[in-house]
């Protein structure tokens, strides 16, 4: 039993798999963005090199920072994402999932964003606390529509609070599922911190946003959590809305769905300008949330009236 657990945790759905898939996904994002600007773009393993280098660098801890939280917070992101990746893959592949695992998942997916906020707050630099409160605004903005969209999916797929329940037939086939999927996709875009919602840690614009004081291994941990999020979040969408994946041909089909979601995110990233954080809040609360609400209402009506496609 313990052997299986160790294997799950460290090799297949766990650390090794998430990291390597994250590296490839991150490379894909950077390469496509570069090609859009007539540039060549980075080599395949560039994200891996970045992280390896960061772990070799010196770790500077500023005096004004809150020591213990400055050091511990970076671990939150990868830990949360690792667990959620295991739950997700387990729910799809062998289909073992416990009641209420989707709620656990939603909690875990908040950890990376929270880690960046707490990291920025505890590093004692006025610029990074400015970046953190923008990140906090963004989290508030996208949590609401995300929850609504997921509830719509749950209602649509028959109300069971188990992830395995979704893999029977794709929720997105129905109208409510489609609306829910679009709203959730935009929330994932914000959670990954991509343009148009990347003002908190705008890589080039602001001085590195909340992560301005971090250097070396701690910054590496944040980059790792970003890589893992690149795998986990689209996978979460695939499982909930697009019917997940199973063994054999199903795995290939699942991977294709994953790549489709990723390319969708990249397209949104490259064709939109950056939104200010209060504009992003307005966009989510007056744009994405009503859409998700509509999806929920349609799902409920569909469920009661027994109409499949609604």
């Amino acid at each position: 039993m313990v052997g299986g657990l160790v294997f799950d945790f460290f090799v297949f759905p766990g650390l090794l798999f998430t990291l390597s898939a994250g590296v490839i996904a991150s490379w894909l994002v950077r390469k496509v963005s570069a090609l859009v600007q007539w540039r060549v773009g980075p080599p395949l393993l560039q994200p891996a090199y970045d992280i390896a280098k960061l772990f070799g660098k010196e770790n500077i801890i500023p005096e004004e920072s809150l020591e213990w939280s400055y050091l511990l917070v970076p671990l939150m992101g990868p830990a949360g994402l690792l667990l959620s990746s295991i739950i997700l893959v387990k729910a799809n592949y062998p289909g073992t999932s416990f009641v209420g695992d989707i709620i656990v998942l939603l909690y875990l997916l908040v950890l990376p964003g929270l880690a960046v906020v707490l990291g920025g707050m505890s590093s004692g630099n006025p610029l990074s606390s400015l970046g953190s409160n923008r990140e906090l605004k963004l989290i508030i903005a996208y949590e609401l529509p995300l929850l609504l969209a997921v509830t719509a999916a749950i209602v649509n797929a028959g109300g069971g609070l188990r992830l395995a329940g979704f893999t029977s037939e794709p929720v997105v086939a129905s109208i409510s599922g489609a609306f829910g999927f679009i709203a959730a996709l935009l929330c994932i875009q914000a959670e990954l911190g991509f343009i148009p919602f990347d003002s908190p840690e705008a890589e080039t614009e602001i001085m590195g946003g909340p992560l301005i004081e971090y250097s070396g291994p701690l910054l590496g941990l944040f980059k790792i959590s970003h890589l893992m999020a690149l795998l986990v979040l689209p996978l979460f969408l695939v499982t909930v809305f697009l019917g997940g994946f199973s063994t054999g041909w199903g795995a290939l089909w699942g991977a294709l769905k994953y790549v489709l979601v990723l390319v969708g995110i990249i397209l949104i990233k490259n064709t939109n300008p950056r939104l200010r954080s209060d504009q992003a809040l307005k966009f989510f609360w007056y744009g994405a949330a009503p859409l998700a609400l509509l999806a929920l209402v349609l799902a409920v009506v569909g469920n009661l009236a027994g109409i499949g496609w609604l």
Partner: protein, 148 residues
Amino acid sequence: MNWKSWGISKSPWLYHVNTGSCNNCDIEVVDCLTPKFDVERIGGKLVGSPRHADVLMVTGPMTRKSKPRFERILEASARPFIVAAVGTCACSKGIFHDAYNCVGPVRKVTEDFDEDIMVVNIPGCPPRPEAIIEGLDAGLKALKEVEI
């Protein structure tokens, strides 16, 4: 050659410091990012804070007013990193060698601050973007020999 310097040579993050240059070299440093030269092919990326920096691209003959700022940046950058003195002014104060307000080439100021920071000189007025990338490459290779 240990893995730390191997890491830096694979993904050199650049941070640009202008210590009073006539912005001839600054434009060439920026040209390295534009499509024609694209430094991202070798993993280069412009970062926003000295904490994240591996290579400080320093231009200009270090005017008196910029010196304290440059030293603060040296202090703030995470070791190990390289200082790339871009342009003849940064390498040897060039034409401003006897100007009253220029206080010394980048190498002297860096060494007074802390000797074991490695300084790469990229001469040229302005150095062509290819020269800057080649200088960067030479610096990263030299860093591999040094034990960190």
